[in-house]
């Protein structure tokens, strides 16, 4: 990201002059108070929002200047995980994960094999035919993670993935994300969870009032230095 500014149409200035480079295979926490611009920061990465000024490139794509038509193809290389899971409510766990592969028009047999593979990785093979409503929060988030990684993206963007989960479940999710990171996927995760940040020491980017106030390897939680 180079000199990123973001002003929303209603005049809110979300980001002012962000400069940051995240390398391949890094694990980055993005911390900061609510309304500091964390979410905007994340949304810019998966091209939900476009910067008002500045350049962002993800996987070598200049996504600020991307044509509307090309957006889907860039998103296929970015896995996104949300606080509220965002699963398709009428599809089973299996179908939710498989959907991400159907989108890239993978052969059916490949879809079947790979979907079962990632469901096993997140420990939900036995719940493949359950609907999201029949799963616990932690399980739903695991399905969302399975969906995010099924196409082996280069980057995973996780916006408060543990925000709705109890501490124990959160740890399970973090272990899973660490495992995915270990296998070679870059992870950018926005979080409010102090305990996680302080225990699993990674690079920490603190954002406050639209600017980066701290960028520290193996940093601690907190945004006022």
């Amino acid at each position: 990201m180079h000199d990123i500014w973001k002003t929303y149409p209603d005049g809110t200035v979300a980001l002012q002059g962000i400069n940051v480079v995240i390398d391949r295979n890094e694990f980055v926490y993005v911390v900061g108070p609510s309304g500091a611009g964390k979410s905007t920061f994340m949304k810019l990465i998966y091209r939900e929002e476009v910067p008002s000024k500045g350049q962002i490139s993800v996987n070598g794509f200049n996504i600020g200047k991307l044509k509307q038509r090309k957006i889907p193809y860039v998103r296929r290389n970015i896995g996104v995980i949300f606080q509220d899971y965002r699963l398709l409510p009428k599809l089973t766990a299996y179908e939710n994960v498989a959907f991400a592969m159907e989108v890239i028009e993978a052969p059916r047999r490949t879809i079947k094999r790979r979907t079962m593979e990632v469901l096993e990785l997140v420990g939900l093979k036995h719940k493949a035919n359950s609907l999201p409503a029949q799963l616990s929060g932690g399980e739903q988030q695991r399905v969302a993670i399975a969906r995010a990684i099924v196409n082996s993206p280069a980057v995973i963007v996780a916006d408060e993935p543990t925000g709705n989960l109890d501490p124990e479940t959160s740890w399970g999710i973090m272990k899973l994300l660490e495992e995915i990171n270990f296998r070679g996927t870059t992870i950018v995760m926005a979080t409010h969870n102090k305990e996680i940040v302080n225990t699993m020491r990674k690079r920490v980017i603190a954002i406050e009032k639209g600017s980066i106030v701290r960028d520290q390897q193996r940093g601690e939680y907190g945004y006022e230095i």
Binding site: Y46, E48, V74, R75, K90, F99, E105, R108
Partner: protein, 305 residues
């Protein structure tokens, strides 16, 4: 597009109908009900139209000739009449024939009344029954026939009868019925579209989130659109299929009842073959278009994420 993707879209479109259970049911219901009303009215309009046609065609001119004209003169008048272009057919009805017809039409009681009249004492004049191509030209044709008297010194025409006034009124009524029918059919079609679009609007809210999630995992617009398209087509097809089945069955029952049980021979309904398939076809095509149209607009709104 890969073949497996086409198959996937078809499969997903079908599954969506089942997954959205009640919403699909509501959409199918609203399509079925509006098309049913439309179909009933179309059948009604068809029959009114047919009735109007029958009435139109029954309109004919009867020309009474002067008594005792003699064969050669009748031949001459016949030739003159036939020269008038508007006429479709000219049939000579001799006075003997006329008497026989009168007897037939009056039945039992007539027998007594017409007792004593035979070919010698027949009081009826010879006549021509005349049909025209266009019922609307009937009064003009009648005037032309009447005009034969002006040129012929024998004045062979005793009277020209075609129900003057009554016929014109009838045309006005049948025309009005046709126009009103067309207007109401159009009105109902618009109403059906409105009803369906309202049903769809309520499904949009649910779809909005779904579509944004699909986009999040990198689905292209057309990938998202296809299953919705098929879903809409299926809903339209099911709704209109039910409607046409009910209409066809109901209508054929109606025909049987009127013809056999009530014995309404005077009002002859258009047969199922004549109108039923036409109405069913229109309903099916319209239903499918409505379904596709509805789902397409509901999706298009949320594709621009």
């Amino acid at each position: 597009m890969r073949f497996s993707t086409v198959a996937r879209h078809l499969r997903e479109g079908g599954k969506n109908v089942a997954r959205n259970g009640w919403m699909s049911f509501a959409s199918i219901g609203s399509i079925a009900i509006s098309l049913f009303i439309l179909g009933v009215f179309m059948l009604l309009a068809f029959n009114v139209n047919k009735l109007a046609d029958q009435l139109d065609n029954q309109v004919q001119i009867r020309v009474y000739l002067k008594l005792d004209l003699g064969r050669p003169k009748i031949e001459e008048v016949s030739r003159t009449i036939r020269r008038i272009q508007e006429l479709k057919s000219v049939t000579f009805v001799s006075k003997e024939e006329g008497l026989k017809r009168l007897r037939d039409s009056m039945g039992e009681e007539g027998k007594a009344a017409l007792e004593g009249y035979d070919n010698e004492t027949n009081p009826l004049p010879d006549a021509f029954d005349i049909e025209v191509y266009e019922p609307q030209t009937i009064s003009y044709a009648a005037k032309q026939i009447q005009a034969i008297n002006d040129t012929d010194p024998d004045k062979p025409i005793m009277a020209v009868k075609y129900g003057a006034g009554t016929v014109e009124k009838l045309f006005k009524i049948t025309n009005a019925v046709r126009n009103i029918g067309l207007f109401i059919v159009l009105l109902l079609a618009v109403m059906a579209m409105f009803l369906i679009s309202t049903t769809i609007k309520t499904t949009i809210v649910a779809r909005r989130r779904e579509i944004s999630i699909m986009k999040m995992v990198g689905a292209t617009n057309s990938f998202i659109r296809w299953p919705f398209f098929i879903e809409g087509a299926l809903i339209g097809l099911i709704g209109s299929g039910v409607t046409s089945a009910v209409l066809l069955f109901g209508y054929s029952e109606l025909i049987t009842t009127t013809e056999q049980d009530i014995g309404l021979y005077m009002i002859q309904l258009a047969s199922v073959n004549e109108v039923g398939w036409y109405v069913a076809g229109t309903v099916l095509i319209l239903g499918t278009i409505l379904g596709i149209w509805g789902s397409t607009i509901s999706v298009r709104k949320y594709l621009k994420v």
